[in-house]
Each structure stands twice: as structure tokens, then as C-alpha cells.
């Protein structure tokens, strides 16, 4: 017989909370705690971190022993492309200017959708690039570059 790992929403969420709490304790290990009267910068973070670890353990145990709702299918395509579209915008905005960043952002993001028609999205991204440049740079005068070179 094969023992199955109790993987469900609760057990994983609990472990995630424990990880966050432990990380906060580790990275905050040098913050002095002080006393209740004279609280150091570490007092409140340590308190929260320990509470978080405790609650995380409780949730994880409950999930492991009693089970919990299944996590369900992860859809990596929208996650990946939506995040990538933001990172592309961040990388391009200072280097290549707003229109280029906007086209990249819209086009890459659109790939994350379930029905991707590249011609349509190309037209959309160009239109939005023109519209956003006109609105944000010309009309509102935000400090963004059109062409950096």
C-alpha cells in the first residue's frame, strides 16, 4: 500500500504560513526585542512571527489529519503571461519608452487569455500604445519617455 501525502488547501496553506513566519524570524533575528516598556524594533515582528508559525502549524495539522478541500488545477498560462507582461513593462519603460513598453505589456498579457488571435491583439496593442502615450504623456504630462534615444 502506498501512503498518500495529505496535500490539500489547508495543509499547504498552513505550511506556507509557517514558512513566512520562520522567514520573518530568521531575517529579523538581529532586531533587538527589548522589553515591553521599551520595545525594540524586533518586539512586534517577533510576536507576529511566532503567532503566524503557531497558526500555520495548527492549520497544517488540521489539514493533514482531517483533510481539506483539494487545491484544484493550477492554470499556469494566464499566471505566467500576465506576470511576464508586467515584468516586460517594467524592463522596457525606462529603456525603450512608453509606446514600446505598452505594446509588449498588452501583447504578452493577451497570450495569457484562452482565445488568442494574434492579429486582433496586435492591432489592440498598437491602438492602446498610441492612446496611452497621447493621454499620459501629452494630455496629463506624466514624466514618461516616448523614445529614450
Amino acid at each position: 500500500m502506498q501512503a498518500r501525502l495529505p496535500v490539500n488547501q489547508d495543509s499547504i496553506a498552513g505550511l506556507l504560513f509557517v514558512a513566512f513566519g520562520a522567514a520573518a524570524l530568521w531575517f529579523g533575528r538581529n532586531y533587538s526585542v527589548g522589553t515591553a516598556v521599551r520595545m525594540g524594533p524586533g518586539y512586534f515582528p517577533h510576536l507576529l512571527s511566532w503567532l503566524l508559525v503557531l497558526f500555520g502549524l495548527g492549520i497544517a495539522l488540521k489539514g493533514a489529519l482531517r483533510g481539506g478541500a483539494p487545491i484544484g488545477q493550477l492554470s499556469l498560462r494566464p499566471v505566467f503571461f500576465v506576470l511576464l507582461s508586467f515584468i516586460a513593462f517594467g524592463l522596457l519603460i525606462d529603456r525603450a519608452g512608453l509606446p514600446a513598453a505598452a505594446i509588449a505589456c498588452v501583447f504578452i498579457g493577451a497570450i495569457g487569455g484562452s482565445e488568442f488571435r494574434w492579429k486582433e491583439q496586435l492591432i489592440l496593442s498598437i491602438c492602446l500604445a498610441i492612446a496611452s502615450s497621447a493621454l499620459f504623456i501629452y494630455a496629463l504630462g506624466l514624466p514618461m519617455q516616448l523614445w529614450p534615444w
Partner: protein
Amino acid sequence: MDLIGNFIMGFGVALTPANLMFCFIGALIGTLIGVLPGIGPVATLAILLPVTFYLPPIGALIMLSGIYYGAQYGGSTTAILVNMPGESSSLVTCIDGYQMARQGRAGAALATAAVGSFFAGCVATVFLAVASPPLSKLALEFGAPEYFSLMVLGLIGAVVLATGALGKAIAMVLLGLLFGLIGTDTNSGLLRYTFGLPVLSDGVGFVPIAMGLLGITEIITNLEKTEGRAPIIAKIGSLWPTREEFQRAWPAVLRGTGLGSILGVLPGGGALLSSFASYALEKKISRTPERFGRGAIEGVAGPEAANNAGAQTSFIPLLTLGIPSNPTMAVMVGAMTIQGISPGPRVMITQPELFWGIIASMWIGNLMLVIINLPLIGIWVSLLKVPYRLLFPSILLICAIGVYSLNSQPFEVAMTAVFGLMGYVFYKLGCEVAPFALGFVLGPLMEENLRRALLLSRGDPLVFVQQPISLVLLIMAAILLLLVLLPAFKQTREQAFKEV
């Protein structure tokens, strides 16, 4: 009378052409967002937060409040016509509103929702104006222990009303509080959890967090549900309710207004809770409960009045105590902070024109909404035909530009993406992000007040139960927690969340 004088001053502020325009734009955008399914009011507020940076403080807040209550109106349109809630507080409106639409009474349902909301909005605005001054006077007496206890109560309220499991909601609050502490410690000047990144020395910005966790996560989860959206739009028909419908509707509107006004003030309350509670109440007291779910007009009138009243009165804790009672109000705190206003009881004294101007603008905004909504309903309906595959990339771009425009920091754009990923993971794990957002806003305040309270009491933690106001607040928090743990209440709570 003082109140009338204040109102006149408020209208003087709200009726300036610029502020009227901000109010109108807010109400218009709010309706638009409310109508479009797939992006809720909190996400919109978070997305549009950077825009307000360039507006004067009063204009910014007037516009943001307009978006919030405008979305309550718009949400009901989609709920009734296509059985799709534009945003969560219209969930219950779907049940009977759509049934009415199928019976050819969509026009009557829409008119009832709009007029009921308008009435509720007017009453709640007066309630807000009357209840706020005494509350803020009380709040001026608050010392550090009272503030700390108040925040505990607010956070517990948020946890109790989160739909997920209690333990996970508490853990989310704790995590939010921790994220709120990132940056320079105000007391010692020590940099906490910045990992040597100078960008983080002022803390994580509220905009990347709110936009990532609330906005981006919502877009990703929408993309995940990939059923082809071909809404069948019901015919609108006559806008006038019949005499019988009218007689059924108006008492429900009154009850909904009362219920919503009270529930909106509670920590964790607001539009969503009010609409659920009102629907339950109408069904309970009706002599013919079997009509509910088959097009009972009370099931539209009550909740719609309640969610609008709740939306308005949830401003009370924010404007008087400086404590946000729900994630939307947390975004408002963010907006006020961007403008250099620290929300709290002093706002009413130091900036009366801001306080009363916002209140007056709510009244004007509600009137505008009736006008925007009823005659223009056809335009809103045609908006439903814009496919999501064109809509969401445009929203992504607005988000990215919005974050960047705040500080011209590409790093913050990337950070938004990271928070979006985090929000998605939490969504998959059944953890709600609303408690996190509240914790994040309250983190530094809570630490500051805990520190001060314990300093004054020489380290004695009993100070929190020795001060009468603080004790009362803590007892209220304890009662809330106990209620959730009671088996009978626990069942109804789970059922209430499941039913709709």
C-alpha cells in the same frame, strides 16, 4: 443649527464645477466597472489609485467614493439583466432580479433597484452626517490603549466576515501586519526586512500590494474560468412598477436602508454583508417566502437599498476613527495617505471642508447615478458585449502605467506582479486576501499604539482591560469571536456563505 451650516458648507465645496466633475467621473467610472463583470470595485479603486495622485485631495476622495457607490448601482444592472453579478454585493440581486427579468419585468426591477438605492443613499448620508461628529468627539478621547483595542476589534470583524476558514483568515491578518512593518522602524530608524533594497526603506507601497493582490489576482482567476461568455440579455420592458409591486417594494426599501446603515458601520461590514442580511430578513418576514427565488420584488428592493446604505455608512469608521472597516476603505486610507491626510477624528476639525464636502458629494453623486443609470441603461448593456479577451489586456496596461506613474520605479511594477502571483496562490489555497489588506494598512499603526500603551503603563499589559473604552472594545471583539465558534452560529454562517 450646526448640522445645517455644515451641510451648506459641504454643498458649497461639492458644487464647485471641478468637484462636480470629479463626482460625475467617479459615478460614471463606478457604474462602468459595476456593469462589467470580472472586475470589482476594490480592484478598480486599487487600479485607479495612482490617478488620484495628481488631483487635489478633496477631488480625489470625491471621485474615489463615487466609484465605490457607483459600482453598487452598476452591479445591479448586470445582475438583473444577465444574471451575472457585476460585483459581489449584487450576488443576491441576481436571484430574484433575473427571475423578474425573465418574466418581462426587468425594467421594474431596474427602476426599483435604482430608486431604492437612491433613497437608501440619501438616508445613509444623513445618518453619516449625524453620527460622525459625536463619534469623532469620542475618538478624540482615545489614547493608545483604546486605539490598539479598536484595531483588534476591526481586524477580528474582518476575520469573522471572511468567507473562508477562521484560522486561515487570522493567519492572513498576521501576515498582512508583518508586511506592513517592512521599511524603516519609526522608533529606532532600523531598516526592517528591506533586504538591502533602498526602494523598500519607505515600506512596501500600498498601490503595488492592493493592485497585485486584489486587481491582478482577479484578472488571472477570471482568465482561468474560460467558459465562452455569451450573455443572454433580457428585454428591459417598462420601467414603471405596478401598484402591487410598488406596495411590496417600499417597505423592503425602508428595512434594507435601516439594516444597511447599521451593518455598514460594523468592522468588516459594508455593502456585501448588508445585502446578504437584507435578503435573509426579507425572506424571513415575508408572508409568502416561497415567492423568493421566483421574482419577488422585495428580494431586489431590500438588498439593493441595503448595499447602497452600507456602502455609505462604512465611511463612518474611516472618517471618524481613522480605521478602515473593509478592504475598500483600506484603499481609501491609501488614497488619503497619498494626499498627506492622516485619517482620523482630527480630519473633521482640521479639514471640515474635506469632511463635509465628501458627504455632500455623496448625496449629489447618488442623484447623478439615478440619472446615469435609468435613461442610459441601453449604453451600459451594450458594454456587456465587449469581449474579455480585449478588455483584460487593456486593464493590465492601465495597471502597469498606474504603478509606474506613482514613483517612476520599474521595480514597483515587478513587485505588483509578485503580489499578483502571491494573491493567486492564496486564492488557490482558499485564503482570502481582504484580511491581509486590512492587516497591512493597520500594521504600523498597531505597533505604534501597542508601544505607546505599554510605555505609559510601564509594561503592564493589563492596561488594555483597565481602561473602560478599551475594555468594551475588547469584549466586543471577544463576543464576535465566540459567536463564530458557537456551533449554531457557525452553521448559519457557513450556510449563508454557501447559499449565495
